[in-house]
Symmetry: D4
Subunit: 252 residues, 8 copies
Amino acid sequence: MSDSIKDILKAVQEGSLSIEEALLKLKTAPFEDLGFAKVDLHRKVRKGVAEVIYGAGKTAPQIVKIAEVMINNGQNTILITRLAPDIAEEIKNTAYFDLEYHKDAKIGIIGKKPKPSGIGKIVIATGGTSDIPVAEEAALTAEVLGNEVVRLYDVGVAGLHRLLSHLDEIMSASVIIAVAGMEGALASVIGGLASCPVIAVPTSVGYGASFGGMTALLSMLNSCASGVSVVNIDNGFGAGYLASMINHMGVM
Amino acid sequence: MSDSIKDILKAVQEGSLSIEEALLKLKTAPFEDLGFAKVDLHRKVRKGVAEVIYGAGKTAPQIVKIAEVMINNGQNTILITRLAPDIAEEIKNTAYFDLEYHKDAKIGIIGKKPKPSGIGKIVIATGGTSDIPVAEEAALTAEVLGNEVVRLYDVGVAGLHRLLSHLDEIMSASVIIAVAGMEGALASVIGGLASCPVIAVPTSVGYGASFGGMTALLSMLNSCASGVSVVNIDNGFGAGYLASMINHMGVM
Amino acid sequence: MSDSIKDILKAVQEGSLSIEEALLKLKTAPFEDLGFAKVDLHRKVRKGVAEVIYGAGKTAPQIVKIAEVMINNGQNTILITRLAPDIAEEIKNTAYFDLEYHKDAKIGIIGKKPKPSGIGKIVIATGGTSDIPVAEEAALTAEVLGNEVVRLYDVGVAGLHRLLSHLDEIMSASVIIAVAGMEGALASVIGGLASCPVIAVPTSVGYGASFGGMTALLSMLNSCASGVSVVNIDNGFGAGYLASMINHMGVM
Amino acid sequence: MSDSIKDILKAVQEGSLSIEEALLKLKTAPFEDLGFAKVDLHRKVRKGVAEVIYGAGKTAPQIVKIAEVMINNGQNTILITRLAPDIAEEIKNTAYFDLEYHKDAKIGIIGKKPKPSGIGKIVIATGGTSDIPVAEEAALTAEVLGNEVVRLYDVGVAGLHRLLSHLDEIMSASVIIAVAGMEGALASVIGGLASCPVIAVPTSVGYGASFGGMTALLSMLNSCASGVSVVNIDNGFGAGYLASMINHMGVM
Amino acid sequence: MSDSIKDILKAVQEGSLSIEEALLKLKTAPFEDLGFAKVDLHRKVRKGVAEVIYGAGKTAPQIVKIAEVMINNGQNTILITRLAPDIAEEIKNTAYFDLEYHKDAKIGIIGKKPKPSGIGKIVIATGGTSDIPVAEEAALTAEVLGNEVVRLYDVGVAGLHRLLSHLDEIMSASVIIAVAGMEGALASVIGGLASCPVIAVPTSVGYGASFGGMTALLSMLNSCASGVSVVNIDNGFGAGYLASMINHMGVM
Amino acid sequence: MSDSIKDILKAVQEGSLSIEEALLKLKTAPFEDLGFAKVDLHRKVRKGVAEVIYGAGKTAPQIVKIAEVMINNGQNTILITRLAPDIAEEIKNTAYFDLEYHKDAKIGIIGKKPKPSGIGKIVIATGGTSDIPVAEEAALTAEVLGNEVVRLYDVGVAGLHRLLSHLDEIMSASVIIAVAGMEGALASVIGGLASCPVIAVPTSVGYGASFGGMTALLSMLNSCASGVSVVNIDNGFGAGYLASMINHMGVM
Amino acid sequence: MSDSIKDILKAVQEGSLSIEEALLKLKTAPFEDLGFAKVDLHRKVRKGVAEVIYGAGKTAPQIVKIAEVMINNGQNTILITRLAPDIAEEIKNTAYFDLEYHKDAKIGIIGKKPKPSGIGKIVIATGGTSDIPVAEEAALTAEVLGNEVVRLYDVGVAGLHRLLSHLDEIMSASVIIAVAGMEGALASVIGGLASCPVIAVPTSVGYGASFGGMTALLSMLNSCASGVSVVNIDNGFGAGYLASMINHMGVM
Amino acid sequence: MSDSIKDILKAVQEGSLSIEEALLKLKTAPFEDLGFAKVDLHRKVRKGVAEVIYGAGKTAPQIVKIAEVMINNGQNTILITRLAPDIAEEIKNTAYFDLEYHKDAKIGIIGKKPKPSGIGKIVIATGGTSDIPVAEEAALTAEVLGNEVVRLYDVGVAGLHRLLSHLDEIMSASVIIAVAGMEGALASVIGGLASCPVIAVPTSVGYGASFGGMTALLSMLNSCASGVSVVNIDNGFGAGYLASMINHMGVM
């Protein structure tokens, strides 16, 4: 809690500050002092599980420094997203802590993944093999945030039997993340089969009239199936984060 | 064949026309005289089966007159597309021939539908009930052109079991027409299941980000399944016509 | 479970059916018989709570008939979406059951709303007063599916104090539905404040460069805040349905 | 047919498996076992003619391994699409089989092309010389799948005489593939002249307002000619595959 | 020429105005006084031929008044564009002059069309019958501005023989206006055949992916043929006006 | 200022509330109590000049009631935007105050316009006569907010002399609002001539490729001239409001 | 004229060919033989003035060979468009003829430019200096085709005085080519000032919402000025070619 | 002032030139001579403060030369925008004057920034750190033009407390520039909080459905807050220039 408000109140209590002066001071006090730190992104992640560093555009020393502060504050697990390979290499060579780096997903992890604490399993399905990097960003994010993840890759609707042979996993999932480029039909089909929330992630995979993921995005938004919602193109992290939120509903 | 060229050649043979004059005449002769009538749309439809009148923008008397000429030329069956209900009513009241009118599909038929003469059956599937008018335009077009049609309506991918319970029809089809609005995923799923050509028809059914059929159109073009091609939004006639062409390959 | 497969198996057990014949029968058995009825939309809604009828394009007699079947099957509450005022009027005049009709949201409700059974409250916020019909579609859907709903209407970001004065509701929500047209910034701001899943619903409210909701849609998809996902333009039902799913995670 | 189902049935027949256990096993049996392997893409290609490997994103060893399995299974001809030159080079240097590589079309062929077995000839026309790589992808695909192909390259409508001098080929084709960028008018003109199915392939050739093939795509979808359908931008393989399907209608 | 400048100069000549004062006055003199009336649109039309009134949004009395001023100034022929039928009717009933009204083209003409004075003939071709209103706007504009017009309607490329049978007219045209909706291929084909300037007019005729003329517009801009330029969708007047300009090059 | 905070402070001063309790209370106090009413839109308008009622979607009684409260609070002038003619008529017939209604601009004014209090004049220019309703919305808004307005209507760049003959007004303006549809070039030309801020308002006037104002909007955003910024399509009120803000810079 | 037709006619004249056989031969004769070479692009350029080689995608030896054939056929001047610098260098080093290379415009010229033979001057104006490469492509094309060209570069509307100081050139032009990126307003302003045909060339110059020339393109198509038409983005050659056509109307 | 007009007037005064001849001369006199230099961009910047050189596409010697002329004319401060690092380096090495180079903003400054002379402070806020280069272009432009600038970077709405903790700066600003990519909500929120003009600058920062800044641009144009206007994507200079104009209203 903020000292400055406390100080103002004390001064009022002690009579060294008039009520009018206190009012004025309060009105112009920085909002942070009012306890707003609770809206900070990092606070939203469940305490003790993980903190997230957005790696894009940050230098290796910057990331190392941020991570060290977190570690010193007792953080056990740290997730670094959009981490370029050369930056990861430099961190590995210079930091005193160990970095587990996932090249495809451009994800770095410091510390151990926590034990799964969610309601059930998060199933992550992709239409093709080219969608896997985005799916892995989602999967690793969910794991680092304390979820058990089931990967169903390359189960696109053009070969429906591949998807249907995993009906059990789909039926028993707590949340499903459907990752697909091209026509994005995977989200609709899974949305029709499953009875849990489905988060659709369009990917920029494709060519011609796929328009960098726009076709998949529009297709997913038009899904006739109930329970489907959509995040930005290639936004694996956002899907994994939201899936973890849903999978921890009522848990903490 | 054109008489005028014959006449020119005769005149050359008889010596009443010099070669130079003949050359000049030939160069400027209308192309129609060169036998180009064979490229006329109406000629492409197999002889004796049906002729097509595009009804949009034509008055009842105009349609009646065109139909009468066709009938007098021995035409047994005539298909009228995009025929407004009031024009159909007026034709019924004024023409000496009978008109069978299908209100949803805006299709009028004069004469009897021919017996199916194609290789196999044309299956026409729709994602929802709102896609049925477009599907019926395709179905009636195909029937009038001599095809057996199987209708699988309201088998959208949001309830996959509805589609899968008709796997037999899909597997044994000669050509499939997949009609769907919204996200248009039906074409991909059917394209993945079937082993015959699939003609995808996006419809303008939907709301919000369906953009009058554009989302379904783009989705269908991006289908990962092989053997799928696409026609214009709501173009049921075009799909039925093409399906009939394919279903009569090698037959006539 | 399906009797027909059971029957096939029995016949095999009793020797009245050869294995080869059984194989053939199984291959062609309708998928529904394989237990696929569980993927039916209506089954996904928690048993005993409510069933949904999509009212658009259905006649009053059709809706009455469907509703009667549901009531006879012991259904206590029935939600009818996209129900036109004249159809609602006709139902009121002809059906033996009572219909509660909400004109703005085009929602009809038969029977009593169930007692809330979810984890917490669903907060539904709108940017302006014109977004209320879409918000009400979401709100009534959520209520009929057994959720407590808190309405925060007209709290758009152009007057941030209106939103901030409801910080308590936002902070304590289980799920938030942010409904906004124009620039759709409400979703980002709420996503930044809240620590629960946020479902963004773009609306077609606006003029000029709002493009029927497309600007709000794109804006919401680009939200920098974590935990935000998006449904189709004006899709209040979809948002309410998904919110109810999330609010009942682990409950049933 | 799948052995596992047979085994289950046998166990039921022999009394070693109760009906209830059998039901459970059947419900969870992978769909592949139910005969679904027939929906596999590779099975759709007519037996004994050719198998297809999608080369994009695959390493040389991966492709070699897949090809070897196919060869061992008695496959005579194998088509590899989207095969990068360097991967092709590596395959040539390392595999025991011979690879015929077509650089423009990025197509690799293992084994001999089969003798044409279709109804007639597939004519492939391009608007300009820049469209040839896409056309060659279509042409080689069709040849490997057992079709005779006639190439009419650089017959764009800006010099109509070039196209008209090949009227014979167009008139006698079984299927025509029209490949064009820029304004894509070739599909309409050929569609108007021919009496067979026309598959239009928009290409990303062009500049300015050609928008990477989008203008050609839209133009082709709007073709006034009947019998024209469209595949994705630059999708030569899809067009060749579909053309082969149509050209083998009723043949196998 | 402007009197005011003359007056300033006179005052300088007479010594009643100093050079400095004259400079100041000239600097602030309205541009109109500098003879800028010559850039007025109406002056661009060749003197004595015709004046144009843009009818949209003007009342009948307003149009009558403008026309009377023109007539009193010796104008023989007046063209009124975008003239609604009811306004035309009202003018006919109230004005002392005769009005020739063309309903389809929404064109009104006062006085007699001048004798053609251009270099040659302007050929106006349309793809279909629905394009005729736009074509007639172009045709009547050109005729009123002193051009001989040849109409080639319904010669779309889907029936190429119709167009080719008019090769003579196309070859001998001075300027060609190609009017087409849908895929707009007519402009390219004519551009390839003709050796004169071709003005392409996309029309909003079509449905589905024609997007109110946008597809035809883009298609025409991408024409591979030289000598083709494009005006706005449905802008028949602009095309007729420009064609007349070109057809009078060097004449006046 | 908020009493509740005052009360909290008093209680602290009097010792009846501990500092910790006070801190908790402050943290959860509604933001409104912190004086946030100052961010209310109505407060931004300079005190005593005018208040604004957004008329769209409000009934006559609602508007009358809001206006009466304002009048009772001493408000001299009230601006009502987007006021439909029939609502205006009803207000005129029922309210005790006088309403000045401007039909084209859909603006209602209660009370007298204030005397101009800004730095200089606001010049409002339009490209054509069809842009006038939007321009009048801007003009009346600016006048009601205390500005002198100069109207330069129908000075589009296609007749440059019309614009140039008003160079004096343009050169001496304090702020200029450029209102134009079609190609929106007016903003660029005025931006190049003037030395004051230019607010560009694209209008939905036009046809064909004007796309409801999108072309003008994009054109204005690309203006090469410095000092030009853009508001939403048809947003006359926004332009007038912003122009008044700028014209009162440093004044109040 | 084609010998083959002559031969057919001779054979008929001499009696060695029956009329029926001649008819058959004529029907299947390649169109080229019917004199269609006159529609060839190269023939449209006025005889003896210049031939055009489209350089893009051609190797130096290919271009040299084509050029040599032209030179041997008596061609005095040859224009090579879209000629890359390295290809130009190679041609210079290997060909026996001299090549004049313009790097910015990517234009190569063999032989001497002809003396201007048109009606008047072609004025080419650009909005900025970045538009000059496209303008030079137009200018050199026009010069090689026998036109006098006046260059008015960097006269964009943001500094209107620069354009107005060249009013004389604009007023006396025979044709004007307006080349501009960004908002493309130059075409409208020139179109309003000039009384001759204006060809607008949008360029891909710009950033942000200029969308690679699309904004300029749309803006130019919406020009309120009469006599303006548009070619594709960056299509300097097309504009120069068309301008030359117009400037030679009635001359040859 | 122009000598030539003076000379003409003198000749009239002296009688050596008739009024008619003078009129003719005046009509054709270059506009520049009429004092139009005052519309020159450079003149719009307040005298003695700064001149601007647009650096893009200019060589180091060109920039040096222009700068030297300005310096010789008594210019104290010169702003160079869009200055590439290598050109800046070359200028530093070759020019006799000192260049202060800001790499991120690509801004070069010659001479000292002037003392702030505006009404108040210009606040420049960014949504994220990636928006800083555009913000710095705006900030340095404003500073060089004589404004005090307050930088509020990384105060995006996803962490609202960061923005609210700077409420004082926002409330007391004279003009605010809101720079944001992604969903661009910053402009709306600031527009709702502030009571001064807000200039919104969309940036091309983002991925997926941010479409190079288009989403932020549309979002900002749709802002519900009054007093917000928008400039082109990434146009920091334009925003800084306009903000300076507004901040000097009534001052000079």
